[in-house]
Amino acid sequence: MPKHTIADILRGLEAKTFSSEEITQQYLDAIAKHDSKFNSFITVTGEQALSQARAADTARQKGAAGALCGVPIAHKDIFCTEGVRTSCASKMLDNFIAPYNATVVDRLASAGVVTLGKTNLDEFAMGSSNETSFYGPVRNPWNTDCVPGGSSGGSAAAIAAGMAPAATGTDTGGSIRQPAALCGLTGLKPTYGRVSRYGMIAFASSLDQGGPMAKTAEDNALLLQAMAGFDHRDSTSMNVAVPDYVAGLSKDLSGLKIGVPKEYFSDGLAPDIAAAIEASLDVYRKMGAEIKTISLPHTHLAVPCYYIIAPAEASTNLSRFDGVRYGYRCENPKDLDDLYTRTRAEGFGAEVKRRILIGTYALSSGFYDAYYRKAQQIRRLIKQDFDEAFKSVDIIAGPTTPNPAFALGEKVSDPVTMYLEDIYTIAVNLAGLPAISLPAGFTQGKPIGLQLIGRDFDETTLLAAAHQYQQRSDWHQQAAPGSV
């Protein structure tokens, strides 16, 4: 079962090798039996999953099966699910039963998926290690002393451990790609505006994007097909036609021009990872791609720029958590001020508070120009770097992270070092581009991720490039030692 992909499950369901109810039950059993080791789920929705599975089996018998009918998946606990706790891994929302579904949840439900439960994450998606969750850290199935990455660490660990074939994630600065890389998975951050943000609890509105996480590029294509598309409830959702991603997997890539940014191969990159990326580029060369060195000169400014913009947006996005209409409220507030200050002091964890304060500072009077406006300007320079590069290449390739999964607790006391782990992923969010991370080797028994960055709305080329690489490699087929 850990090797099951969505494509495998669809074939099995179609061939009646197993029913959705049977396979759903198997995953639920695996979660019940093994998740105590990983802590990848915050909420398991067993009964609901089984009833959805039975409904899917009936639909399939009637010949009314949606594209993903009966496929069990998990949702990152940042997507609102009606009638089910949606916690964002925060004490603030520990009691929040969402009264509506996120658009992504609705879309996947109409495609027929079965929801196994809600996966763990860094609190409000603020982190790269899944250590800031109110529900405790998640462990990496490849090495349980290590972090799975974050913020979609629960989704990544659940898939890597074989407790779900696929899951949703969200990516603000690398939160899909980095855990995918650290857990040996394939994860796609779509173009900003490709997937609706409605019902996805906001961290940084101009950067957040939901996307799929799975073992293969093919599964990513299947999921994205259901998730993507215009949503009238999200003003930043773009009305751009959704192509057939599955059909696009076999797109002819001969003559593909791949740019490799020289800035990505600097001192901070682990030598094994550099070597693995070089090796994967050789695979592409053999596929007929042309590899070119390019320059993204403002790369070093991406992390500083992000650590102003993301906290600034977050600081106000999180003002709604005030103990008045939903969520946590402190005991016996003595007055209105006490209600606010204590609810928010008790409801938010340390990293969230830190980021709210930084964001508040960056927007405050006297500092706005030096920080927030400056960051918005740098953001344009970063975007222009990519625009320039895409004049001469079709995709950009490089490592997803400079290092493999690090030990739990290793970087907790040094946030800046942890932030710098996101150096390759963050610029992509600032520019709004699509990018995919796929397994490209191992170092010390830990997975290495290859990141491919594409042009706006050209997820097709990324998925095809990843898929065709996976036809020529088996990194993505390796099972984590901790898996079921």
Partner: protein
């Protein structure tokens, strides 16, 4: 760039987060680290760069003026900390 206790207190006040005095030293150190890292931006001349708020430089779509929502008060207030007569209750608001 570093923030002193007063700065932290002011930010905490704006953000309505109660910060204990024992927490401020560590907070100010960590925030100081982050601000130092962020200061790399100041070396770049951005005088002629237009700020970018959205990755696509797109424009706002407008919604037709139609009532599309109905009353879900009961459902919404089931998850509220405290309500009475359909109102959300908070400690006395002073004008």
């Amino acid at each position: 760039m570093s923030l002193d206790q007063n700065d932290i207190a002011k930010l905490a006040r704006l953000a309505r987060i109660n910060i204990a005095e024992t927490e401020t030293a560590e907070l100010s150190e960590r925030i100081g680290d982050i601000l130092n890292m962020v200061d790399a931006m100041q070396a770049v001349d951005t005088a002629n760069v237009v700020a970018m708020a959205n990755p696509h430089d797109a424009i706002q779509r407008l919604r037709a003026d139609e009532v599309t929502e109905s009353n879900h008060r009961e459902k919404f207030q089931q998850i509220a900390p405290q309500t009475a007569d359909g109102l959300y209750l908070v400690p006395q608001v002073i004008e």
